[in-house]
């Protein structure tokens, strides 16, 4: 295929992996091929269920018990590893020559042994050295992965490390044997954005320093642009396109890759509909005919439904599996390209007015809100004296890392907690404290919430019909049974689900469909205000755009006001009018969306902005990564105040800091 002098260090050919799942055969990987060269970083991108994780696990013989490689070869330095039969053969490769870093650092570390011992053990096992030598080596490695005070931390247990530090320890254990290949399986998915940026940086540095080859598995295109040299896009168990990071991001040829990139909210223009991939990923229990992506591709050709496309070479480093590259399709492909180009030009030409705050009414006022929880005898303040307003018709985003208290604010507004301090006013009326039944009913109808996890937010034992009409039943919002059914059918159609689905159970739906059921459940109450608690962060990239478009459409049609809770600043930029940044229970900055991105003032906001992985290899890694240390504030003498520094731009700081911020703005 390739006329290159270099030979690949790892070469997988037509690997097929099948799982026996409750008596049914699931083909997770359907003939995937890949080549990894020495010293390069290859990212495998795909949605959940695309088989990316399973595919790489087969390189080290770590498939689950019910899974089996049923075809293909994996050559590691010209040795076919699929011929291995015993665990002993695998152990010679696994950990020593090919190491793996998993998503959740806590599951890869033993909680009852010190981290130093765990790494030293690996070294002793593989290199048969003395304990003292191994210890010395371990401390070296811990230093290398950026753990300060390595000598003391050697004797500490995993629970004494933060999430990011733990992942560094796992990486240290992985590189302890100087592997030739390091496979990172979503190593930063469980981490906060700022920590993620540091880990990516670390992996990049280590790769260069140790001259390893790295396979980086992720679903996040932003991370890919930051970390990879080569990218393989996986869909329904096949590598559909592979090329250098610039080729994939700038000249994608496979319709799936194109659609994936176009549906990224980071690259969208606010106020316009985001390009969205229709439908849901295919069911791998069924046999797939032709191109797996064809049913979701509005531009699919007849041939796509009949024959599986072969691999077409675009450039020496770039190939894709799509019929669009066939000579017969030349004319059609050119047509599509021309049309897409026109569309994007049209979209760019149509500017959208920003939200007009000059005569906006306040819908919700939050004054000095604090929420505390009892924790181990003491009190833990999850939300600490927070005040802000939400205007009718706007989308206010609340952005923060895990544990910042953003969800707690959302739930406090929904009156989930019995006791909160401070006041919340809705439409001028106080809604905290005891309310009459009539008032509660009104509030339940006017305020609703969307949830994060589509798997956990639906009652598994109830039919969709019951789930959606739960609120209708509670307040008898229908005259007769027929009216209720009609309401359910209408709302299902509105969120893009067939009303026939009403008699099914939630487990029969995919994540995106379940999220839409959850949205329908809230919308059927016809609320004015919705708390959207990270409604897209648990969804696959190809589904996100659907939900974002749905939320935007509903907002326009129903005149909704959103409080949008998120951890990802880049996604929020596409949908919000104003953004509030929250950390450790305190809102530190609140401003207009564009203003915040143009003039971030608070050091935490700056750190957050610098850490966003931007899905463009030309932009990625250009910004310097900033870190935020709360101890930089000197609030002992001069306490912080919540100040409107310029109209609409609020910030938390003491007088000295505020003067500094004013200087920064040139005031």
């Amino acid at each position: 295929m390739e006329n290159n002098q270099k030979t690949p260090i790892l070469r997988a050919q037509n690997v097929e992996i099948k799982f026996d799942l409750r008596g049914k055969i699931l083909t997770a990987v359907r003939g995937a091929s890949i080549e990894l060269y020495e010293g390069e970083t290859l990212a495998i991108v795909g949605e959940s269920g695309s088989g990316k994780s399973v595919f790489t696990k087969s390189f080290i013989g770590m498939l689950d018990k019910n899974g089996k490689v049923t075809g293909g070869q994996v050559f590691f330095r010209d040795e076919d590893m699929m011929k291995y039969t015993t665990e002993a053969e695998w152990l010679k490769v696994r950990g020593k020559r090919i190491a793996m870093v998993f998503q959740d650092p806590m599951t890869s570390l033993n909680p009852v042994r010190t981290i130093g011992e765990q790494i030293a053990e690996v070294i002793i096992w593989h290199f048969k050295v003395s304990h003292a030598e191994a210890k010395k080596e371990t401390i070296e490695i811990l230093k290398k992965v950026g753990i300060p005070n390595a000598e003391t931390r050697y004797h500490q247990y995993p629970h004494e490390f933060s999430g990011g530090m733990r992942q560094r320890v796992v990486i240290a254990a992985a590189i302890a044997c100087r592997p030739e290949i390091m496979i990172c399986d979503e190593p930063t998915t469980a981490l906060d954005v700022t920590v993620q940026a540091q880990i990516i940086q670390l992996i990049r540095d280590l790769q260069k320093e140790l001259n390893m080859s790295v396979i980086y598995i992720t679903h996040d295109l932003g991370v890919v642009a930051n970390v990879a040299e080569k990218v393989a896009v996986m869909y329904a168990g096949q590598i559909v396109e592979c090329g250098t990071v610039h080729e994939i991001f700038h000249e994608p040829v496979h319709p799936y890759t194109k659609a994936l990139l176009r549906s990224l909210p980071q690259l969208g223009i606010r106020g316009h509909e985001l390009y969205s991939i229709k439908g849901t990923p295919p069911n791998l229990f069924k046999e797939i005919k032709g191109d797996a992506f064809a049913p979701r591709n509005p531009d699919a050709m007849d041939i796509d439904f009949e024959e599986e496309p072969p691999v077409f070479q675009v450039s020496p480093t770039h190939y894709a599996k799509t019929w669009l590259l066939h000579p017969y399709a030349k004319e059609y492909a050119a047509q599509i390209q021309e049309r897409d180009r026109k569309r994007s030009e049209e979209a760019a030409a149509k500017p959208v007015d920003a939200f007009d705050y000059s005569n906006a009414e306040k819908l919700l006022e939050i004054k000095n809100l604090s929420v505390s929880f009892k924790a181990r005898g003491g009190k833990f303040k999850a939300v600490d004296n927070v005040s802000f307003d939400i205007y009718k018709g706007e989308t206010l985003s609340l952005v923060g890392e895990s544990g910042s208290g953003k969800t707690t604010i959302g739930r406090a507004i929904m009156r989930i907690y019995d006791k909160v301090e401070g006041d919340i006013f809705f439409d001028g009326e106080k809604i905290t404290g005891k309310q009459t039944k009539q008032k509660m009913k009104e509030l339940h109808m006017k305020m609703q919430m969307f949830f994060q996890d589509p798997m956990a937010s639906l009652n598994e034992r109830a039919k969709v019909d019951y789930i959606i009409s739960e609120g209708l039943h509670n307040y008898h919002l229908f005259d007769h049974e027929k009216g209720r059914k009609e309401k359910v059918a209408n709302i299902m159609r509105e969120v893009g689900l067939s009303p026939d689905f009403a008699s099914r159970f939630p487990h029969e739906f995919s994540g995106g469909q379940r999220q839409r059921i959850g949205i329908a459940r809230s919308l059927v109450m016809e609320p004015e205000f919705v708390v959207a608690d990270e409604p897209i962060s648990a969804l696959d990239v190809s589904i996100r755009a659907q939900i974002i478009n749905l939320l935007n459409r509903l907002r326009q049609e129903r005149d909704l006001t959103y409080l949008f809770i998120a951890h990802d600043l880049s996604v929020v930029r596409f949908i919000s009018d104003r953004i509030a940044v929250i950390t450790k229970g305190k809102i530190v900055e609140l401003a207009d969306c564009d203003e915040l991105f143009a003039h971030p003032l608070h050091p935490y906001t700056k750190a957050l902005l610098s850490a966003i992985p931007y899905p463009d290899p030309d932009v990625a890694g250009r910004n310097e990564l900033l870190t935020y240390d709360p101890s930089m504030h000197d609030y002992d003498v001069d306490g912080p105040v919540w100040e409107e520094i310029v109209p609409g731009h609020y910030i938390l700081g003491n007088q000295k800091e505020l003067d500094g911020y004013r200087r920064e703005l040139g005031l």
């Binding site: 409750r22 295919p282 049913p295 041939i303 590259l325 066939h326 919430m449 949830f451 937010s457």
Partner: protein, 313 residues
């Protein structure tokens, strides 16, 4: 543009034009074939031994309740003829007769029926009361100190002392036995259910119901109980052999049912008196008892395993 592994099939250029986009087709996934109950029962009945035990238990229960229909042997009919006493197992008396000439086979089935009745009643009250109290307990933090004390007191008194005392104070009867056993078991179940409910009380789907204004009663009955129903079944299944065993024990120490009542406890107890001469009088009814209790335990535990979604592979 080079082409790799060119197919042998001839490609029709006409096929290379836009196909009709079918919205429904793109949504068609049938994402999961997973259904909780289906998977639970498939896992449960996967083992042949479990199937056999379930059939066996069903057979024994049916037999014990239908025995009076099949047979007209009176289990209380004593015989004054010396020859009828202490007979060895034979064609007419499968399990032999006791020292009063009563047919042990018939007595065993009547006894099993009473034991089952007792077991079912206890299981119903323990699990029923336990579930209601557990639900209240799980939702009401204020009950914690009182309930935990009560739990500690009740579970730390050895159950035998407690059972013997209660049975001693009241007259021996089915009701006494039921009260003495049921007054204690519920709190263990209540605590078990409380812990389970606590773990799912704050999951997102319950918060969603709260946001929709669903009443607590409805959340418990519609959201929580359907999620722990398999645990309820399992607990009930394990309660039955425990109460049958307790009854036998109480009969054994002489504070169980009245002597003339036919229960497995009384039969075993009476057989014990003549165990040295006629061991079969105790061993055969005891064998039926063992089969019932062991089968129930195995079924209960296997069901517990099967109802755990982690085992649904």
């Amino acid at each position: 543009m080079s082409q790799q592994n060119e197919k042998k099939i001839t490609l029709d250029p006409v096929k290379f034009r836009a196909a009709v986009f079918d919205h429904m087709r793109s949504e068609d996934t049938g994402y999961s074939n997973y259904s909780y109950w289906k998977s639970t029962f498939r896992t449960f009945f996967k083992s042949k031994a479990v199937c056999a035990l379930v059939i066996l238990i069903c057979g024994i229960i049916l037999m014990s309740f239908l025995y009076p229909v099949f047979s007209d042997v009176d289990p209380t009919k004593r015989s004054l003829i010396f020859m009828d006493w202490n007979q060895k197992p034979s064609e007419t008396h499968w399990f032999g007769t006791d020292q009063l000439g009563r047919d042990i086979w018939a007595r065993a089935w009547y006894g099993a029926r009473n034991s089952f009745l007792l077991g079912f009643c206890i299981a119903l009250s323990d699990v029923g009361i336990g579930m209601i109290v557990g639900a209240l307990w799980g939702y009401n933090r204020k009950m914690d100190p009182v309930m935990i004390e009560l739990y500690n007191v009740m579970t730390n008194i050895p159950s035998t002392v407690y059972l013997v005392l209660l049975a001693y104070i009241m007259n021996t009867s089915f009701l006494t036995l039921f009260i003495s056993m049921a007054s204690r078991g519920w709190i263990v179940e209540a605590r078990f259910f409380r812990n389970r409910i606590l773990s799912i009380r704050d999951s997102e789907y319950n918060i969603a119901s709260k946001c929709l204004g669903t009443s607590m009663w409805k959340i418990v009955t519609k959201n929580i109980i359907p999620h722990i129903i398999s645990l309820i079944i399992m607990e009930a299944a394990l309660c039955i052999p425990y109460s049958i065993g307790s009854e036998v024990f109480l009969g054994f120490v002489g504070v169980g049912m009245p002597v003339d009542a036919i229960t497995l406890g009384n039969i075993v107890n009476q057989g014990r008196a003549s165990f040295t001469q006629h061991p079969y009088q105790m061993l055969l009814p005891a064998a039926i008892l063992c089969i019932i209790t062991i089968a129930f335990y195995i079924i209960g535990n296997k069901f517990a395993d099967a109802s755990d979604p982690r085992n649904h592979v």
